[in-house]
């Protein structure tokens, strides 16, 4: 398997083999992160630019760290939302990036398709770090990597994604990726937080948390945005917590050693009880570490291209 894509825009377009190559490469990167000196010279002299139109300390830091661990230079290009509205277009910014000599661009943007628009305009790799409600492929890949690590395999695992599926790029990318690798995916949410025809993505749909978590191997909880309450997607946070907040009693319905995941940052006591967030079954911090490994793997594959070359990362 040789990596041939210039950019990573989403998991919908990836094949099973491509996803497996990324996950394998991430394993090598994780080995690097376990060493006393957590840095390799693989991408020395390369420049990775973070172009974040939405604030995200976590994802942006994770990408920066991934670049630095590979000895690439990382810089952020701050983009004020107001200047976008005034007409400083994404495509003008793209030209700036080329002129800066960037070797890859990591883009986070509030509008679906923005990463694709950028990729069509420039001839360097574009990494989608979240485009609106469309996709967040690196989050899904790190989730999949974590599942692989915790459960040994993805095929056949029963995985529940709970929460605001309608507005979640994480859910969409997870569904595409997990299905390609043979997992059984279910989504659990009130009807107001489910996008229409979601079942056509190949998921089982539950509106009842207790029914939904029955016999599952993994529960992935999505962050609930308080602003959704203002728009009437649910009446109050209190009511949401009552029906969709994961608590200890729910775990008795799932598999004994169920793995609890969350893309962070968590709202303690809302989508997950504090007790569960701190339990052994929660792997939330490991997801953060795996995120760096997965992003290192992607920077490596996209900038270096070709197959996984063991020598290059030792």
């Amino acid at each position: 398997m040789v990596w041939e894509r210039r950019s990573l825009l989403g998991l919908e377009e990836l094949s099973k083999d491509e996803i497996e190559l990324i996950l394998e490469t991430a394993k090598s990167m994780k080995d690097v992160l376990a060493r006393p000196i957590k840095k390799v010279p693989t991408l020395q002299g390369k420049l990775v630019v973070n172009l974040f139109y939405e604030p995200s300390t976590r994802t942006s830091s994770s990408f920066s760290l991934a670049a630095k661990r590979l000895s690439a230079d990382s810089m952020g290009l701050s983009v004020k939302k107001s200047s976008v509205v005034k007409g400083e277009s994404l495509l003008d910014t793209a030209k700036t990036l080329q002129a800066l000599g960037a070797d890859a661009v990591v883009i986070r943007h509030g509008i679906p398709g923005a990463a694709k628009l950028l990729a069509e305009e420039i001839n360097i790799p574009v990494l989608n770090a979240g485009d609106g409600v469309h996709e967040h492929p690196t989050q899904a890949l790190l989730d999949m990597y974590t599942i692989m690590e915790k459960r040994d395999k993805i095929a056949g695992q029963k995985i529940a994604i709970v929460g605001d599926i309608k507005h979640s790029r994480v859910a969409r990318s997870n569904i595409w990726g997990l299905n390609k690798l043979g997992a059984e995916v279910r989504v659990i949410a009130p009807k107001t937080l489910l996008p229409v025809e979601v079942e056509r993505l190949g998921v089982e749909v539950y509106t009842d948390l207790e029914e939904g978590v029955k016999d599952v191997d993994v529960i992935n909880l999505l962050r609930i945005q308080r602003e959704r309450q203002d728009k009437g997607f649910f009446p109050t946070i209190r009511e949401y917590v009552k029906f969709y907040g994961l608590r200890k009693e729910h775990l008795e319905l799932a598999r004994d050693n169920v793995t609890l995941m969350h893309p962070g940052p968590i709202n303690r006591g809302i989508e997950i009880s504090a007790e569960l967030a701190d339990s052994n079954q929660a792997v939330i911090e490991e997801q953060v570490t795996n995120g760096v490994a997965v992003r290192m793997a992607l920077l490596y594959l996209l900038i270096r291209g070709g197959s996984k070359d063991e020598k290059a990362i030792t």
Partner: protein, 425 residues
């Protein structure tokens, strides 16, 4: 005397569902004679052998963008584009800057059209001042100045009471109210049709109900008041069914469909190409099938383009930031012939009726039929010509089309306005 003889064509009279081999003679801008093997010694003869001679096509829903948005289109470029598309008359929507909502603006825009337009231009006035949906525009005074209908197109009249009053008031002038049916709350920040493709792209959805509740409302208002109403750019199966039922009850409701709503589905949005962004949005395959059915059974009376030109710079941005609209006047006839006539959904006569006599009758316009003594607005159509849509070849300033590179069959060969050839392929 200026004489023009079209020889060897097939004359179509959509009003009578007739089609026969005949020559047509124009003298001084009027149709002088229609008959077999006409010989006129001093006439200029145009060979239209094997082609269709149709009444000039009429598009009752275009955005010419003047005044205010001349970078997108002008009366000149928009009407030249119309001529190329086979249209001899267009009705311009009032959502310009300023909005055409008073007598003097109607006067000035019609005067400009008289100077610069390549085809006949009718003006539609706003229903409410500034199309803000707050208070009625001076409908009567605009009528006196020549508006042929009123519409707040681009915006919905959300206040049902105000819409009710507009319908009542317009009745005194026999003006048709053209309703842009979209519930603002249901449509929200939506940019695409709600369905599987909005789910996978994550683009904000507009549910079918956003259109349908307003279609239902306006039908009920027209029914209650005994007035007429015309539904612009109908796009959902549910809306077509509402109109069908209303017509069967005898409500004086008519509606129009745009070519992109019977030729394209929302699957196209997966490209994130902003040329697919239009309002109402491209709908599902089931909706497209329902539009075709509505055209076939007569529920949908009129085909109108909703020609909405924008610049490349405006469209080449993130999907949410791009304006809604498709530049459609140069592709409409080809799409109608390819998507409706060729597969047998509509006969040629019925398709042309929806582009000629039906819109003319609905808005009380002259034209739409071929009769001796009538003004010579004609479209000669080559049904056989195969062509590929190349936006760069559009006369319209708006190159924004989702039909780029589409292969079409059938096209205007000759467009004649007032006896003058305004376009020749």
């Amino acid at each position: 005397m200026k004489k023009l003889l079209l020889k060897g064509g097939e004359v179509v009279k959509p009003a009578e569902s007739k089609r026969k081999q005949a020559d047509l003679l124009i003298i001084d801008g009027e149709i002088a004679e229609i008959g077999v093997d006409l010989e006129v010694a001093d006439a200029k003869v145009v060979d239209v052998e094997g082609k269709i001679i149709s009444p000039g096509l009429i598009d009752i829903h275009v955005h010419l963008r003047e005044p205010g948005f001349g970078h997108k289109e002008t009366i000149k470029t928009g009407t030249e584009a119309a001529a190329k598309g086979g249209f001899t008359a267009v009705a311009a929507m009032p959502n310009t800057d300023p909005v055409i909502d008073n007598q003097s603006l109607v006067k000035s825009v019609l005067a400009k059209a008289k100077q610069e337009a390549a085809v006949d231009v009718y003006q539609i006035g706003a229903i409410t001042k500034g199309s803000q949906g707050k208070e009625l525009a001076e409908i009567g005074l605009m009528y006196e100045e020549g508006v042929v209908a009123i519409s707040d197109d681009g915006n919905s009249v959300m206040n049902a009471e105000l819409m009710r009053l507009a319908l009542k008031y317009a009745q005194d002038f026999d003006l048709t109210v053209i309703s842009h049916c979209e519930d603002d709350n249901l449509a929200g920040d939506g940019v695409v049709n709600e369905g599987y493709y909005s789910t996978i792209t994550g683009l904000n959805p507009i549910p079918a109900s956003a259109e349908e509740v307003m279609v239902a409302r306006d039908i009920l208002l027209a029914e209650e008041l005994g007035t007429k109403v015309h539904i612009a750019h109908i796009s959902t199966a549910g809306a077509v069914e509402l109109v069908r039922q209303a017509k069967s009850r005898g409500v004086d409701v008519s509606c129009e469909a745009a070519p992109h709503h019977f030729a394209l589905t929302d699957e196209l949005i997966t490209s994130f190409d902003t040329n697919t962004k239009v309002n109402p949005p491209l709908r599902s395959a089931a909706d497209v099938a329902a539009i075709k059915e509505g055209l076939a059974d007569g529920t949908i009376d009129i085909i109108a383009t909703d020609h909405a030109p924008h610049t490349i710079e405006e469209k080449r941005v993130e999907y949410d930031y791009a304006p809604f609209g498709i530049s459609g006047i140069e592709t409409a006839l080809g799409v109608v012939l390819t998507e409706l006539v060729e597969p047998g959904i509509l006969s040629l006569e019925d398709a042309l009726a929806k582009l000629t006599i039906n819109p003319a009758q609905r808005l009380n316009l002259t034209g739409g039929n071929l009769a001796v003594g009538a003004k010579a607005n004609l479209t000669v159509i080559d049904l056989e010509q195969e062509w590929v849509v190349e936006p760069q070849e559009f006369i319209s300033k708006g190159k924004n089309t989702p039909f780029a590179q589409t292969e079409l069959r059938g096209k205007a060969a000759l467009t004649i306005v007032n006896g003058e050839v305004v376009y020749r392929d």
